[in-house]
Structure formats: structure tokens, C-alpha cells
Amino acid sequence: MLDDISSTRNGCQWVLLFFSSVVQIMNETILEVRNLKTQFFTDDGVVQAVDDVSFSMARRETLGLVGESGCGKSVTSLSVLRLVSAPGKITSGQILWKGNDLLRYSEAQMRAIRGDDIAMIFQEPMTSLDPLYTVGNHIEEALRLHQGLRGQAARARAIEALRDVGINDAERRVDAYPHQMSGGMRQRVMIAIALSCNPDLLIADEPTTALDVTVQARVLELMKDLREQRDMAILLITHNMGLVAEMCDRVAVMHSGKIVEMAGVEELFAAPQHPYTRDLLRSIPTLDSPPKTRLATVQWHPTPEQRAQSNLVPVGDNHFVSAWAA
């Protein structure tokens, strides 16, 4: 089953494979998460935040991780970077980054991975920047840590990075403090920081949730452009189905710590197999829903038997659903 997941390649990529060995490298599976379990040991008992989750990501692929609040999306992404802090703990599984298990890495090795190979942007652009440093300082810090750049060289790169994310007047803005910028600009800065070291994987944890709609659109546009330019994969965490439809190649739907369905984005929207996915899609109001009717809510809730049969089984080409629903 796991092999099936890891060999997720679409036809287009198969064609590319012929062109050169470089392209072959670009098609490799860069991240593979196997049977990941992250638990929180609280005073009131153990919480299974991530429960036996497996997925993989190829280079340049955008995978959407969707689900309701508290379903384990964010913890999954934090687990990939091993940033889960006490009382949370990754208790079992493997996180293979280009074939090496990150869970066996030392803390120092992990630090070298974070920000350099795998970067992350957070939901709240308002609070994710240290108010005491200029945006330039932030980018320079990343460059300093991973590329050993300092002084003028780092500053020049910082300005360049800001320009890349579409900030006007970057020479001046590089010296601005976070509080002097708008939310959209700050999120751009966050993206600039994350991309400053050319990561292979960008984890975006609800990158646009805190932004208003027009700014959202622009930030998404930016992320799409940068994805093309830099050949990076994006793990997009969101509960916004619209965002998924627009950005992602594949989607994984999570519920109570488990992936219940995973499929290509068109297929998932067209033919959802799992009752939870169906409920989730139905709950999105559309413009032509009849007026003065109640909005659909998610009704599905797993019974213990259903939870027990939660391993993913293939139901179609690149389409997996938990065993119970299949």
C-alpha cells in the first residue's frame, strides 16, 4: 500500500522523465511520511493528534491537507519539521526526507534542514515576525544560518528576496519594522523569509486565513508564481476548499488525526468516496443554493469500528480512501 502512495506520479511527469536525468531527480519523491503518530500526553489522558498518517510528496507537487479545526493538520506539518513541543511527542512512524529518516536526525541536523530544505510559513503574519527586528534582519538571519552570508551580501540578497515577493521600494522597506507594514505585506515578507534559502518544500499553514480576500488572491498568485520559478513542493494546510481547488495537485482530507481520503484534486471534488469528504464538500454554500434553507452541516462521525478500519485502500487511480468507506 505504501509503495502505491510513494509512486504517485502523473502522466505528464512520466513524459518529462524521458528528457533528462535532471528531470528524473525532479520527479523523485522528496518527502514520504509513513505511519506517523503524534500524541499529546496531557493530564487528562493521551490525545492522538496525528494517528497513523502516511502520505508522500513529489518535487514540484502541491498537496493540500484539509479538514476541520483540530483534526491534526497543523500538528502533522509541525511533526514533519519535528517542531512538536511538549507535551506533544512523535511516538512512531517515519518521516523520510529524500530517503533519510528525519526522526533519526540529531537536533543540529534538523536545524540545518529547517529553513534550508523545508521552510514554513505561518497563519498569522501579524505575530510571526519578531517586532524588534527589521524585515531585513529576519531574512538576513535565515541567510546567515544556512548560507553563511553576512553584511552587505546578505543585505543585497534580502532586498532581492523582498523584490521577488513583489514588495515595492524594497531598498527602503528592508529597514522597516513589522509594525510598519500591512498584513498582506507581512505575509509577503514571511514568504520571502521562507524562500530566501530556496527550500525544496514549503509548508504553508493556512497562509491566507488572516488576510482579506483581495490580499489573499494576490498572495496565492505569488505563491503559484514562485512555485513555478523555483521547482518547489508545497504542503498547503487549510480548511478552505476554494484554496485547495485553486492551488493543489492532490488533496488529503483529514479527520480526527487520520487521513480519510486522498486523491487528485479534480477527482476528489468530482467523486468523493468517503462520507466525511462528501459532507465537507456539501457544507460549502454555493451561490445557487436555494434561499432561506439551512446550510448543510457535517453529519458524519466515526464509530469505534469505523476508526479501527481507517487504513487507506486504493479505490481508483491515485485515489485512496479509508478501508471502512471503500
Binding site: 536545524r111 510571526s128 522597506r173
Partner: protein
């Protein structure tokens, strides 16, 4: 004029507003005159309007131009702007600057070696302060100050008195050569700011041993003022670091550190100091004793700082930018030092400023009891120890001068600390 001064005084320090300021002033002065006198010819008003609007526009564009670069107004600049508005804090700050400058140049400012028991050639014990005189016996005024020499006499109660002898005026001379010393501990020289030829000048009198009290006060300030500063530096560094680590890691590390701090804090400071100081061998080098006192003082003090910093760190470490820093691969130590502790500086700076006096007083207290800096090395505390006897206090009131200095220093630190607290508190920061 007063009206025009007030608004301008806020903008002039920024420097670039001065050309429009004068034009602006004219306009402001003109307007009340117009209000009082309705008969002002209209031509004057019209004639003035273009100039004044230009001035206003200039002032406005001047301000706009000033605010654009304020993109890079750092927190330090903001604090400084705020602090400058607090008169008492500025007064405290200036006083402290003067004090520390005085300590730095003490051997140059002091006319005599502080340990010399007969600086004027003869040993004069408890000589009262000498008056600087400008008018001589003949009633002639001169700008050049001079002092009268004195004659040692004994009263019937066997008190020593020093009546001035008018026949022996000694003009004060500047940049005279006297005892050797090293300026800043580096430059060997023997030039003193002032002194007299063929005699002595005791601006603050002498002590029991006949040493110049003014010189001792100055040299003593070096020890008394630096003790507080160095001790607070050690306390600050240690408290921040330990508190930062304790709060950042939490769990077992936190528990161990906090219990350690509690044990340290439950030891009564002054008695610990007494015990430690009493355990010192009496024949130790004064410099060694001085360093040890600093270490003792800060050793006792850092735990309180660490506890409060830890509490602040507990809240700061949960902020998202700390998480973001981690996700960027920033190491723990760098996270603590660069991203977490700076948020606690606001508290720490104020706490540090406010607790410097405690260290100065601590040193003074120890030395007063004869357990700190030992004679002949002067410090404000051990100079005061002569004043332990009521009889001395009654007759030789100048012996209290170091007490006055301690009082001024403590007050100045408290004013500055208060001002800093207000300036660093964003809630008290007024707009504009």
C-alpha cells in the same frame, strides 16, 4: 513669543525643521495680534497670508519628509524621544553622567593623594572645610579665588580649632603638579586640576587621620559608583541568562533552576554578606576585596532577576515568531538571546536601574561596618564609618559628605529608572 516657543520646542531637536520654524513663528505671533485688534489693515493680512501658508506648507512638508525615514525609527529612538520629555529622568541621567565622569577623572580632580595623612606638609586632623574667597582683607575683589591658611589651636575643652590666618592668603592655582597617579589607570602623570603653593587647600576639610576629605570623596566615588554598575552587569547577565534558559526549556530544567533560586533568595542577604565578608582574611589586597564584594553582592542578587525574567520568558516563548524562528532553523541559544530576551529588556533595564542604588548602599553598608573596603582605601561607606561616633557627628559635620553623595546618586538612579519605565511602556506613550 511664549506661544510660539511651545510647539516649536518639540520639533527643533529633530534638526531639519529650523528654516520653516522661523517663518512659522512669525505667523503664530501675528495671529493673536490680529484677534485683539480688529482695525489691523486688511492689506497686512493679505500680505501675510501667502508667506504664512508657504511657511505652513513648508512646515508640513518638512514633517512629511521627516516621517518617511521614520520607517526605520528603532525602539531605542522611540524610547529616547519619550525619555527626553521627562524632566526628572533627564535630571537624574545628567546627574549620573556627571557623577560617573567625576569618578573617571577623580585622581585629576582631587588635589591630593587620598591616603596621604599630611598632604599640606603637616598632619591636621579634623580640619574644617576651607572657604574659597574672592574678596581680600582690604576689601578688594578679584576673580581669582584664594584660601587663607589656618593656625592649629587647642581650646580649653581640648578641642582642636583652625582659625584662618588672614596674613597668609594662598591663591588657587590650576593644573599644578602634585602627587603621581595614573589617569584611567593608564597614563602616568602628576597634574592636578587645582592646588596651592606653600600650603594646603581642604575644600571639604580633613578626616581623623588628617587626609584631604575632598580627595577621598572623589577617589571613593570610583569604588562606590562602580560597585553598583559592575554588580548590576553581573546580576543582569546571570539573571537574564538563567531566567531565559529556565523559562525557555521549562520542565525539569525549570524546576531545578527555580528551586535553586528559591534557596538563594531565602538566604537573608545582609547576613550572608556579613558572614562572607567576615570570613575574608584581613590582609587581603584591597582590589581583591573590592572584586569579592562585587561578586558577593551580585551572587545574592541575581536570583530575583532570574525569577522574573523566567516569568516573562514563559509568555514570550509562546509567541508565533519564536515558533517561526524555530521553523527557520534558529538554534535554541540564539532564539533565547536574540528573540526572547530582548522582549524582557523593558523590564530588565528598569529593574537594573532601580537596583543599582541597592548595591551602592550594600557596599556602603558593608564598608560602614568595616567589612567592605578597608582603610586606607576610601569608599563612601568606609568614610562614613568615622561618623559612627556621635561626638564626631556633632563637631565635624563635613564627615557626612559621602552620605550626601550616596543620597544624590540613589535619588538620581530612581528618577532615571522611573523615567525609563514610563518611556519604555508603550501604553504611556503619547502620540505626536
Amino acid at each position: 513669543m511664549k506661544r510660539s516657543d511651545a510647539p516649536e520646542s518639540t520639533s527643533t531637536p529633530s534638526g531639519d525643521a529650523s528654516p520653516p520654524a522661523s517663518a512659522h513663528e512669525g505667523q503664530l505671533v501675528a495671529s493673536p495680534a490680529l484677534g485683539e485688534n480688529g482695525a489691523v489693515p486688511e492689506t497686512q493680512v493679505i500680505g501675510q497670508t501667502p508667506a504664512s501658508t508657504r511657511a505652513t506648507r513648508q512646515a508640513l512638508t518638512g514633517r512629511a519628509a521627516r516621517e518617511l525615514p521614520s520607517v526605520s525609527a528603532s525602539p531605542i529612538q522611540l524610547t529616547w524621544r519619550q525619555l527626553r520629555k521627562n524632566r526628572m529622568a533627564v535630571l537624574g541621567g545628567v546627574t549620573l553622567l556627571l557623577m560617573y565622569a567625576m569618578a573617571l577623572f577623580a585622581p585629576f580632580l582631587a588635589p591630593y593623594n587620598p591616603t596621604n595623612q599630611s598632604p599640606g606638609g603637616q598632619n591636621l586632623t579634623f580640619h574644617p572645610p576651607m572657604r574659597l574667597r574672592f574678596v581680600d582683607r582690604a576689601g578688594k575683589f578679584s576673580l581669582h579665588p584664594f584660601v587663607y591658611q589656618t593656625q592649629q589651636q587647642f581650646t580649653e575643652e581640648r578641642d582642636i580649632i583652625y582659625p584662618p590666618v588672614a596674613e597668609q592668603p594662598r591663591p588657587l592655582r590650576f593644573f599644578v603638579r602634585g602627587s603621581d597617579y595614573n589617569l584611567f589607570g593608564l597614563i602616568p602623570t602628576n597634574v592636578h586640576l587645582f592646588g596651592v603653593d606653600n600650603g594646603y587647600v581642604y575644600l571639604l576639610g580633613t578626616d581623623q587621620e588628617g587626609r584631604d576629605y575632598f580627595s577621598r570623596l572623589l577617589i571613593g566615588s570610583q569604588i562606590s559608583l562602580s560597585v553598583g554598575l559592575i554588580a548590576i552587569l553581573i546580576t543582569f547577565t546571570l539573571g537574564m541568562l538563567v531566567g531565559g534558559i529556565s523559562g525557555f526549556y521549562g520542565g525539569v530544567v525549570d524546576d531545578i533552576i527555580q528551586r535553586g533560586c528559591e534557596i538563594l533568595m531565602s538566604v537573608p542577604d545582609f547576613y550572608l554578606l556579613l558572614a562572607l565578608a567576615a570570613a575574608l582574611p584581613t590582609d587581603w589586597d584591597p582590589v581583591k576585596v573590592y572584586l569579592l564584594i562585587i561578586v558577593i553582592l551580585s551572587f545574592v542578587g541575581w536570583a530575583g532577576m532570574a525569577r522574573i525574567v523566567r516569568g516573562l520568558v514563559l509568555s514570550v516563548r509562546e509567541r508565533e515568531y519564536v515558533e517561526a524562528g524555530r521553523a527557520l532553523g534558529v538554534g535554541d541559544f540564539r532564539l533565547i538571546v536574540r528573540h526572547i530576551l530582548p522582549s524582557t529588556f523593558t523590564y530588565a533595564i528598569v529593574a537594573a536601574t532601580m537596583s543599582v542604588p541597592a548595591y551602592i548602599l550594600g557596599e556602603a553598608g558593608l564598608s560602614f561596618l568595616g567589612l567592605g573596603i578597608r582603610d586606607p582605601m576610601p569608599s563612601w561607606g568606609n568614610m562614613l564609618s568615622t561618623a559612627q561616633q556621635l561626638s564626631v557627628l556633632e563637631r565635624y559635620e563635613w564627615i557626612l559628605a559621602p552620605g550626601f553623595m550616596i543620597f544624590i546618586t540613589t535619588l538620581a538612579f530612581n528618577f532615571l529608572g522611573d523615567g525609563l519605565r514610563d518611556a519604555l511602556d508603550p501604553k504611556s506613550r503619547k502620540l505626536g
